[in-house]
Symmetry: C2
């Protein structure tokens, strides 16, 4: 039915629609999914379990202008996959809590689920439960994602040691530049910078490289870059009791990012250091493993990870340029 709303459809039918479109996993670990008081899962027998939860709120994290329903479904799962990846784990089972206004069109849910499914299929993730509630105004999406990892392969934020190299799995700043394109009134036409917009709308899940770095014990500390590398590297340093130096010339800035920055007279470094939402993995490793890391990440990602700095004794995050070293404040996105 055209323009049918959630209110027209009713709660039971909405849940059936979601159930029909819910991704299943070939792993067979879901003994009971949607349709009872709780989901029943068979845990991995030689693994620890990883759990993460993330909420996206309309008007705060997204608007109809910045994310299509499909992109929202994709991103709601990928931001959680990113957290599991940053522990070196394998994502398994998702739970979806939706808050929707009653006038939301049913097609919104179908499209959302299509995006959610596409992300789930990247890692054979099952949707095993959730809830749906009416809201007064904003749409709200909360995903809880469970994953697994052999206990000895979990990579914490606290494993960085002075002398480690600092690596990043892909471009920095693209997502923030993409958001700028979508939101700023005087920004150039976003269609000229498709890769930047895509970086914001459809971040790629990094679970495969995260798992590979854990399995091979190359990553000693790891985090996903959600608040900007400056802030996220500061998290690693705080947990590890170290400092870090970022070599500015090494930061992977895309050609499109540099081009846009020049066109709108902005410093691409601001986007790269503080922009957030890149969902690349930031990790530290022994310099002895450099060659193996380059070839491993090249084989998994298509392009090798990039060495952007080093862990040092002491405190703080330092920016190293040809002019010397200066301390930077974290300045990542904070909610309050």
């Amino acid at each position: 039915v055209k323009n049918q709303t959630l209110k027209d459809l009713g709660e039971a039918a909405i849940i059936r629609l979601i159930e029909k479109k819910a991704p299943l996993s070939s792993r067979g670990h879901v003994k009971k999914g949607i349709g009872d008081d709780a989901a029943v899962l068979e845990p991995g027998r030689d693994s620890v379990q990883l759990v993460t939860i993330d909420t996206l709120i309309e008007g705060i994290h997204f608007t109809a202008r910045t994310l299509s329903p499909e992109a929202l479904g994709w991103k709601a799962l990928v931001v959680n996959m990113s957290d599991i990846a940053a522990m070196g784990g394998s994502p398994r089972t998702a739970f979806l809590s939706l808050g929707m206004t009653p006038d939301t069109e049913v097609i919104f849910i179908s499209s959302f689920m299509a995006g959610f499914n596409a992300a789930a299929q990247k890692a054979d993730i099952a949707l095993a439960g959730g809830d749906i509630v009416a809201t007064l105004a904003s749409k709200i999406v909360t995903v809880t994602l469970l994953g697994e990892c052999p206990a000895e392969q979990v990579i914490y934020r606290s494993g960085a040691r002075p002398g480690h190299d600092v690596w990043i799995t892909g471009f920095l700043g693209n997502a923030a530049a993409g958001l700028f394109l979508l939101l700023s009134e005087d920004a150039p036409d976003p269609s000229a910078y498709e890769s930047l917009v895509l970086a914001h709308q459809k971040p790629m899940p990094r679970h495969e490289v995260g798992q590979a770095l854990g399995r091979n014990r190359f990553a000693k500390a790891m985090i996903d870059v959600s608040d900007g590398i400056a802030g996220d590297l500061a998290h690693i340093c705080r947990e590890s009791g170290t400092g870090a130096v970022i070599q500015v010339a090494s930061l992977p800035l895309s050609a499109e990012l540099r081009k846009l920055a020049a066109e709108v007279n902005k410093d691409p470094l601001d986007w790269a250091l503080h922009g957030g939402e890149d969902y690349e993995l930031l990790f530290t490793a022994s310099p002895a493993d450099e060659q193996q890391i380059l070839s491993l990440t090249a084989s998994v990602l298509g392009i090798p990870a990039v060495k952007v700095g080093r862990i040092i004794d002491g405190q703080g995050i330092w920016l190293e340029t040809e002019q010397g070293k200066k301390a930077i404040t974290s300045g990542g996105y904070t909610h309050f």
Copy 2:
């Protein structure tokens, strides 16, 4: 600081405040809680895992008038404990996603956590992670709760068979009557009906009786009464392919409920059948187990569970009175 808000405090300090007040579990299964990309848990080795998620939204599920911050914290966890209890499981690990407006006072969070903690301590539940985001208007609380259960003791909705008795672990309708007292302009003074208001604000977790009914294999199908017994019994019947008869004279209605109904000229049956939020357990059992169920529930709950009907061949939920039998429509609370 008096009247300090979340905006004054800042995101990192809010998280530290929650971490400081987060319940820990004596079980030692949380290898890493708050403070990394994901929590790391040691799963129970001979159990399946149970997972449930529930969201409470200001203006929909609660207002400042209906729930104090402490009551909100308590209830946000207990509604999830109720789902784990309804599977026969043991709740273990909670994850908390908070959406709060920046002008929320810090004392709100402290009070919320005090209520959350009090509920957690009832079952030795750890808070192992979550997230906090700013919202534009409403407060939002999403709790994901993980539990465990030996595989052969899980109680599904689908286990009801014709001939089973239908049981309930406590009073029906009190929570709905309590909400009426809190919301209705022409309701009598709530302080005269404290037990009804408490039933809405501070439902008791039923995990102990749920586990006992599973361990002893007495409950064959089970659900928690969140939408009213009529609707929730209909869920059991739909999943089990049966019908059910409710004996009206057997329904446990409290003296306060009857008194209030008389005072405001309402039918207490409406609250009991369709009111919702009682969070008692509804289960079916073989008539052969009646005496053992009475003594088991009396020993766990203080008062015995009450037999309120029976499972029959066919479809539908029937209400049996001295005047005969009539079909009822479910009529429970639905969101859309």
